[in-house]
C-alpha cells in the first residue's frame, strides 16, 4: 500500500521526503482503512460501498469517536492520564436532559427549541462531570484511572437512581432525529459534527499554546513545571473538554436511538481505549494525533460492519480487533525512513 507514494517521495528533496513518511502511524492507519475497504468490497460485495451503508457506518462512528478523543486528550496529558467515565457521562447527560427538558419545553409544540435545550442541558452536565474529574485529578492529585473509575461508577449510580434503572423513551422528535440520521449533501449531520469537533481539537493541539503545553506536560512534567505555566489549570481544562465530548456523545446517542438508559454502551469504555491505542497515542503521555484517532475509529467501524455483513460471530470480531491492535502496535515500530535511506 505504501510503496507508490514512497517511490514518488524518493524523488523529492531530503527534508520533504522525511516529512512525507515521518508519521508511520498515520501512513499505516490510512493504508489499513483502504485495505479494510478493499477487503470488504472483495468479500462482502459492492453493496458495502453503497450510499446507505457508508452513511450507516458514518452514523455509528461519532459516539465511540468522541469518547475516543476524550480518552486521547487525557492520555496525552501524561501522568497515567485516562478517562474511563466517558460513557457514564454520556448516559447521565442524556438521562438528565430526557427527564428535565420536557418539564420546560414541550417536544410537540416546539421541537426545535426542545432539541436545542436538550443539547444545552447535556453539555452543562458534561461540563460539571468533566470539572469533577478534573478537580479530583488536578487538585486532589488522584491517579486518573482511579479517579475516573470512581466517578464513572458514581455517575452511573446517579443515572440509575434518577431513571429508576429503566430506559427513558424520547419518542419521535424531528430535529433530534434529523441530527441523528439525516444527511446533508450525503454526509450525516452527526458525523459532520464529529469531524468538525475532531478538526477543531486537532488544530487546537497543534497550533495553540494549550496544545503545546499539553504535549510538554505529557512528555516531561518536571520541565513543564519549570516552564512556569499552571499544570493544574491545564489538567482541569483537559478533563473538562473530555467531559464535554462525552456529553456530546450523549446527545448523539439520544438522537440516534431516541431513548436513553444508564447501561447503554457499557462495552464502549474498552473499545474507546482500543481506538486510542491503535491510533498511536502514547499511553505514557506526550504524543498523539487526533487525525489518527479518527482514522482508527473508521477502520474499526468498517471492520466490524464488514463482519456483520458476512454474519461472522462477534467473538471472532473481538479476536480480530485484538489481532489488529497487535499488528498496529508492531507495524508502528518499523521505521520506514531507515528502509528508504538504505535503498540506493
Amino acid at each position: 500500500m505504501c510503496a507508490r507514494p514512497l517511490r514518488t517521495a524518493k524523488l523529492l528533496k531530503g527534508h520533504l521526503l522525511r516529512n512525507a513518511v515521518v508519521d508511520r502511524q498515520l501512513n499505516f492507519l490510512v493504508s489499513a482503512n483502504v485495505l479494510v475497504l478493499i477487503a470488504a468490497l472483495a468479500i462482502a460485495g459492492p453493496s458495502f460501498v453503497n450510499v446507505y451503508n457508508l452513511q450507516s457506518m458514518a452514523v455509528q462512528i461519532p459516539e465511540l469517536g468522541l469518547l475516543g478523543i476524550g480518552v486521547a486528550l487525557a492520555m496525552i496529558a501524561g501522568n497515567g492520564g485516562i478517562d474511563l467515565s466517558g460513557i457514564a457521562v454520556a448516559n447521565l447527560s442524556g438521562i438528565v436532559a430526557a427527564l428535565s427538558v420536557p418539564l420546560w419545553v414541550s417536544p410537540d409544540d416546539a421541537p426545535l427549541m426542545f432539541a436545542f435545550v436538550f443539547g444545552g442541558v447535556c453539555l452543562c452536565v458534561g461540563v460539571v462531570c468533566g470539572l469533577i474529574n478534573g478537580l479530583l485529578i488536578s487538585r486532589a492529585s488522584l491517579t486518573p484511572i482511579i479517579a475516573t473509575l470512581g466517578t464513572s461508577m458514581a455517575f452511573s449510580g446517579i443515572s440509575v437512581v434518577i431513571s429508576n434503572g429503566s430506559g427513558i423513551r424520547l419518542g419521535y422528535i424531528e430535529p433530534l432525529d434529523d441530527f441523528g440520521h439525516m444527511a446533508v449533501l450525503g454526509v450525516p449531520i452527526c458525523f459532520a459534527l464529529f469531524i468538525a469537533i475532531a478538526a477543531f481539537i486537532g488544530a487546537a493541539l497543534r497550533f495553540t499554546p494549550f496544545g503545546v503545553r499539553l504535549y510538554l506536560l505529557g512528555s516531561n512534567a518536571k520541565a513543564a513545571r519549570y516552564a512556569g505555566f499552571s499544570q493544574r489549570g491545564l489538567l482541569l481544562v483537559t478533563y473538562t473538554i473530555s467531559g464535554i465530548l462525552a456529553s456530546i456523545a450523549g446527545v448523539v446517542i439520544a438522537a440516534r436511538i431516541s431513548s436513553v438508559k444508564w447501561d447503554y454502551g457499557t462495552s464502549y469504555v474498552l473499545i474507546a481505549i482500543l481506538i486510542v491505542v491503535m491510533a498511536g497515542v502514547r499511553p505514557s503521555g506526550g504524543y498523539g494525533r487526533i487525525v489518527c484517532v479518527v482514522l482508527s475509529a473508521t477502520a474499526l467501524q468498517m471492520l466490524s460492519s464488514m463482519f456483520n455483513f458476512l454474519d461472522i460471530s462477534n467473538f471472532f470480531r473481538d479476536f480480530a480487533w485484538g489481532l489488529l491492535l497487535l499488528v498496529f502496535l508492531q507495524v508502528s515500530r518499523i521505521d520506514l525512513r531507515s528502509w528508504l535511506v538504505r535503498k540506493p
Partner: protein, 331 residues
C-alpha cells in the same frame, strides 16, 4: 519491508475468512441478546433447522459478544445496510431498539420480535405463552413447595429485560392475591444473565434473610447460581428454588435437589417459529387467530393488537422439568 509484508499478510488472512451468500434466496437473520449463551445456542438450532427445511430461505443467527444494548443496535444497523429481507430480534432492552427497527421497516425490511410485547416498531411480536400466566405458574409451584407460608424472593436478568420483570411482577401479584402468609423480600434481584452474579447475590440474600424459604430465578442461568449457593450453604431441601432454566445446564442441581424445578419454552422451537413468522411476513401471508405454525405449543396461536401498528401472537408452549422427567430433554 519484510516485516511490513508479513503484517499485511496477517491482516489479509483475517479478511479472507468469509462466507458466500446464497444468491436469489430470501435472507432472514435472527438477532439474539448475547452470542454463545446456551439458550441462544439452542435457539440457533431452530433457526438453522428452518433454513434447512424451507427452500428459498437462508437463515442465520447473530448476537453481540457482550450483553449491551448498544452492540445489538449496531448489529441491526448493519443488517439494514446489508439489505436483508427479514429480521427476527430478541431485544436486549426493547425501547432501545425502537429507532433502528423503525428504520429497518422504513427500508422495507420485515421485522418480527420475540419477548418484546411493549415494542411499538415491530410488525409481529411472538410470545411463547402469556407472560403473566407463566409468572403465576412459578409462584404456585414455589408456594406449594413452601407450604404457602414464609419468606421468598425473585431474580431477573436485568430490570430492563421486560419478560423477566413481567414474570417477577405477575408472580408477586399472584402471591399477594392467593397466599397472604408469603412474604416477598428484596424482589427482582438483577443477575445480569450471569450465573456467577446470581450465585453471589443468592449468597448475600441467604445471609441477609436466614429465614428465606423460596427463590424464583428470572434469567435462564439464575437457577444455576442459586442452586450452587444453596448447596454450599447446606440448605438443599430447605429452600425452594424454581425458575426458568435449561435442562442440561441445570441437571446437576435438579438431581441434587438444590433446584426443585424449572419451566421453560424450548428456544429451538422459538427460533424455528420466529423464522417461520418472519418468512410469512416476507411472503405477505396473513396472520389469523388460531393458526397453526406447525410446532407443538404453537398450533393454536392467539392474535391480538400490539402497542404499535403490529400484532402480538401468543402460543401455549411452556414445559415443566424436574428431576423425574429430566431425561426427556437433551438440551
Amino acid at each position: 519491508m519484510k516485516k511490513l509484508a508479513v503484517c499485511a499478510l496477517l491482516l489479509g488472512s483475517v479478511f479472507t475468512i468469509g462466507t458466500a451468500l446464497a444468491a436469489g434466496n430470501k435472507t432472514i437473520v435472527t438477532v439474539v441478546k448475547l452470542a454463545g449463551e446456551t439458550w441462544f445456542t439452542r435457539m440457533d438450532e431452530g433457526v438453522k433447522d428452518y433454513g434447512v427445511k424451507t427452500p428459498g430461505v437462508t437463515t442465520s443467527e447473530i448476537g453481540p459478544g457482550k450483553a449491551d444494548a448498544a452492540q445489538q443496535e449496531r448489529l441491526i444497523e448493519d443488517l439494514i445496510a446489508r439489505g436483508v429481507d427479514g429480521i427476527a430480534v430478541v431485544p436486549f432492552d426493547p425501547p432501545m431498539l425502537e429507532g433502528v427497527l423503525k428504520r429497518a421497516m422504513d427500508r422495507g425490511i420485515k421485522v418480527m420480535t420475540h419477548e418484546a410485547d411493549n415494542l411499538k416498531n415491530t410488525q409481529v411480536d411472538m410470545e411463547a405463552f402469556d407472560n403473566a400466566a407463566f409468572g403465576a405458574h412459578f409462584n404456585d409451584q414455589i408456594a406449594d413447595c413452601m407450604g404457602k407460608t414464609g419468606t421468598w424472593t425473585s431474580f431477573v436478568g436485568s430490570l430492563g429485560s421486560l419478560t423477566h420483570v413481567q414474570w417477577a411482577d405477575a408472580s408477586a401479584a399472584n402471591a399477594a392475591k392467593k397466599y397472604p402468609d408469603m412474604k416477598l423480600v428484596s424482589a427482582k434481584n438483577e443477575s445480569f444473565n450471569d450465573a456467577n452474579t446470581a450465585y453471589n447475590k443468592a449468597k448475600e440474600l441467604l445471609k441477609k434473610y436466614p429465614e428465606l424459604k423460596g427463590i424464583e430465578g428470572g434469567s435462564a442461568v439464575d437457577v444455576i447460581g442459586i442452586g450452587r449457593a444453596i448447596e454450599e450453604a447446606g440448605l438443599v431441601g430447605k429452600v425452594c428454588v424454581y425458575g426458568i432454566g435449561m435442562p442440561k445446564d441445570t441437571s446437576r442441581y435438579l438431581k441434587s435437589g438444590a433446584v426443585n424445578g424449572i419451566s421453560l419454552w424450548d428456544p429451538k422451537d422459538a427460533g424455528f417459529v420466529m423464522n417461520k413468522i418472519a418468512h410469512m411476513l416476507v411472503d405477505g401471508t396473513e396472520f389469523k387467530e388460531g393458526m397453526d405454525l406447525g410446532v407443538p405449543g404453537y398450533t393454536n396461536m392467539h392474535v391480538k393488537k400490539g402497542p404499535g401498528k403490529g400484532i402480538i401472537v401468543t402460543g401455549q408452549a411452556w414445559i415443566d422439568v424436574n428431576k423425574d422427567n429430566l431425561d426427556k430433554y437433551n438440551f
